[in-house]
């Protein structure tokens, strides 16, 4: 999943991906972008759900 998201961002398939990453042990919403590709390695799946914006 992480590699797929990284590839999508890299290739411009998507401009942003709203997902989750761990922040000090807790799943927090994160906006993954091409500008911060390295963050894609921190993408996680879990039960936390936030509605955003």
């Amino acid at each position: 999943m992480r590699q797929q998201v990284k590839a999508w961002l890299e290739q411009g398939t998507v401009n942003i991906l709203l997902g989750y990453k761990l922040g000090q042990g807790y799943p927090l919403p994160c906006c993954f972008t091409k500008e911060n590709l390295d963050e894609a390695a921190e993408l996680i799946a879990g039960r936390a759900r936030y509605f955003l914006i």
Binding site: N15, G23, P27, L28, P29, C30, C31, A48, I53
Partner: protein, 685 residues
């Protein structure tokens, strides 16, 4: 698009809810509840959901200001700081350091409160530092410390839902601490018994197994009456009392006189209800006592708190999970402001200023000789201003013109000052009178920590750059201190926190890294310590729990022929304190735009008052005019006014009589008269 989420802590009440700020292209656009936070578990109250609205309000102060030709005018930071430094220096040289008073703040961070008291003591050279805890829980600090040895909430918020019995007295929890009320509801779902004692029919009363509306200011009699019944029925925890407590016999002798009929005559509580309260509390353990301003804001505030402690000890409810005596702190960091030494008698962690070893410890840490005389409380400061002893007042994140009792009296005192400095995010009623105004950053524009009501130290994180030409409170204090010749060069809040922790034993094991997203509860004495969920396990902080023999005393002012009604004041659910943050928040302000007085239908009928009509309220201190709200929430003979609204400020009416030990004013009780003002209004829907 630059979109980010920043975790932080809500800056309204003392629950300590975790929030996420949503930031789009550098603008704060929304607030979300943190789903996995140990306190709020993905929930927020109406104020928390709208936390961002006051931050981005166009009413924010955006520049420091100086009063020139009677008008506040924008100036540079250099000019504002230089002016204050010069004028304070001049006042100190002419009148001495004790001619200056500082009000620390329950709204700003621990780091900033630490610097405020350090500045007051090491730079000004006085212990004249106090803050609004004087007006909310000073009686808690005194009462709990006397009985148990530690003046804070004994247990944790999450534990409430596992209590077998919850006794709520003088706390409108669902309106003022909604995320704690949620735990009460969860406890009810699990089968807990609920006792609610409040002079008003608050929302929680509807869910109680027994709910009573005791007469204002009669709490000691009510609690002594409950304990009388518990002792008569042998329901008390005998071995616990014998092994862990002292002075039981003197306490018992006093309680014996509080028979149910005597208590009914004082409190108005039916004897059957009193017996049910006693039985439910004593026979369902662990039992948790929850209280707030209804217990503390009395001339007998310390007695009330000590009586709560007596009841909890009598039934063995201290030092156990889900039990305890749990004062709910009203502001996001009022616990922290006390912990940091924003009080005239103690350094951080309640280390008395007049104990030589403490004084020497802090003098060494700060490189300055420090005063060892206890300073003025807020209550003392008003009189000192009137007496001409206090010449300058530096008010940080407080609005005493609205929050102090007997407002007209305070107005006269403020007029006698040579210098009033205010530091705020809005032009509050007090800030309007300032000679110098420092514009400060809001909760979303800085880093730091708050300590919530359950002693949980939580991180605050910067989400956006400061709006306008404002500075974080810690930066302003550091600039001012440096301008007055005492260099404060901190790299940032974390450096201040680390210095604070090095001199504050209960925080010694905390670091920013360890605080993470869910914080740590003090005491946390070393870096291996997990924090403390409940206090006094196995042994009280003071050794043995101390029973106090407490006799009932009337409030300072009782109704009479001239002022025939009782008046009490408090909060309503959508607003917070003096309204500076919530009345500029559109979603909160729309819930309630004006002040009002609750009056019982029988009283309204007798006075020919219809719902929405303007009425005049008058006490011995002053009068206000506001719309009537006819309501069964109050009993006949009792009026209630929320204190959020400047145009009809409740504190014009309140009594400044105070508890002799804690010096907390009796906001909750005074005598008032009411009459139609001759203006018909629109009924409240």
């Amino acid at each position: 698009m630059d979109y980010k989420i920043i975790s932080s802590t809500c800056s309204y009440c003392g629950c300590g809810c975790g929030v996420l700020f949503q930031v789009m292209d550098g603008r704060l656009i929304d607030t979300l509840p943190m789903k996995t936070h140990p306190v709020n578990e993905g929930k927020l109250c109406i104020k928390g959901w709208n936390l961002h609205e006051h931050v981005v309000s166009d009413k924010r102060l955006t520049s420091p200001m100086l009063k020139k030709n009677g008008q506040l005018q924008e100036v540079s930071w250099d000019e504002a700081v230089r002016t204050v430094a010069d004028r304070l220096t001049s006042i100190i040289e002419e009148h001495g350091p004790d001619s200056v008073g500082v009000l620390a703040s329950a709204k700003v961070t621990n780091e900033e409160n630490y610097l405020i008291q350090k500045f007051t003591r090491a730079v000004i050279g006085t212990n004249n530092v106090d803050h609004c805890a004087r007006h909310c829980h000073s009686s808690t600090v005194v009462g709990l410390a006397a009985a148990f040895g530690s003046g804070a909430m004994t247990n944790s918020i999450a534990e409430i839902e596992d209590a077998a019995c919850i006794f709520i007295s003088g706390s409108n929890t669902s309106a003022c601490h909604p995320l704690i009320a949620r735990r009460v509801f969860k406890a009810k779902e699990k089968g807990a018994k609920l006792i609610v004692a409040d002079p008003r029919n608050i929302q929680l009363s509807r869910f109680a197994d027994v709910a009573v509306t005791q007469r204002l200011g009669s709490d000691v009699a009510m609690l002594n009456g409950m304990m009388h019944i518990i002792l008569k029925n042998d329901w008390h925890a005998k071995s616990y009392v014998e092994e862990r407590c002292e002075e039981f016999d003197a306490f018992k002798a006093v309680v014996e006189a509080y028979t149910p009929d005597k208590v009914e005559a004082i409190t108005g509580i039916a004897q059957t209800d009193l017996k049910k309260m006693a039985e439910l509390y004593a026979t369902n353990t662990p039992a948790s006592i929850i209280y707030a301003m209804g217990i503390t804001q009395h001339t007998t505030g310390v007695d009330n708190v000590k009586s709560c402690c007596n009841l909890a000890m009598l039934c063995g409810n201290i030092g156990v999970k889900s039990g305890g005596v749990n004062p709910l702190r009203g502001q996001n960091n009022v616990q922290g402001a006390c912990d940091m030494g924003g009080l005239p008698n103690v350094f951080p962690a309640y280390q008395p200023v007049n104990v030589k070893a403490n004084n020497e410890k802090f003098a060494k840490a700060w490189g300055k000789d420090l005063p060892d005389q206890i300073g003025y409380t807020i209550t003392d400061m008003t009189q000192a201003m009137l007496d001409g002893k206090l010449k300058a007042l530096y008010v940080i994140g407080e609005n005493p013109k609205m929050s102090d009792p007997d407002q007209n009296h305070l107005d006269k005192a403020l007029e006698k000052l040579d210098l009033l400095i205010c530091q705020d995010i809005f032009l509050s009623e007090t800030a309007e009178k300032a000679d110098v105004l420092f514009a400060a950053a809001s909760v979303a524009e800085k880093d730091g920590t708050f300590t919530s009501t359950e002693r949980r130290c939580l991180r605050v994180r910067k989400a956006i750059d400061p709006i306008g030409n404002v500075l974080a409170d810690w930066e302003i204090i550091a600039k001012l201190s440096t301008a007055m010749g005492y260099e404060m060069n901190y790299a940032g809040p974390e450096a201040i926190f680390n210095e604070m922790a090095s001199v504050t034993p209960s925080y010694a094991g905390m670091t920013y890294e360890r605080l993470g997203l869910d914080g740590l509860q003090w005491p946390c004495p070393n870096t291996d310590h997990p924090g403390t969920r409940f206090l006094h396990k196995d042994q009280f902080t003071r050794g043995k729990g101390l029973f106090h023999a407490v006799e009932y005393l009337d409030p300072a002012e009782m109704p009479d022929d001239e002022y025939p009604y009782f008046l009490t004041t408090g909060r309503m659910f959508a607003h917070f304190h003096t309204g500076t943050m919530t009345r500029v928040s559109p979603h909160l302000n729309t819930e309630q735009k004006t002040g009002y007085v609750e009056i019982h239908p029988e009283d309204a009928k007798a006075l020919a008052i219809n719902d929405g009509d303007a009425v005049k309220l008058a006490t011995r201190r002053g009068q206000i005019e506001l719309p009537a709200r006819i309501s069964n929430k109050v009993k006949p003979g009792l009026l209630f006014v929320p204190f959020h609204f400047a145009e009809n400020s409740a504190n014009i009416l309140t009594n400044s009589a105070f508890d002799p030990i804690a010096k907390i004013p009796e906001f909750k009780v005074c005598a008032v008269k009411v009459a139609p003002a001759g203006v018909k209004g629109t009924p409240h829907v």
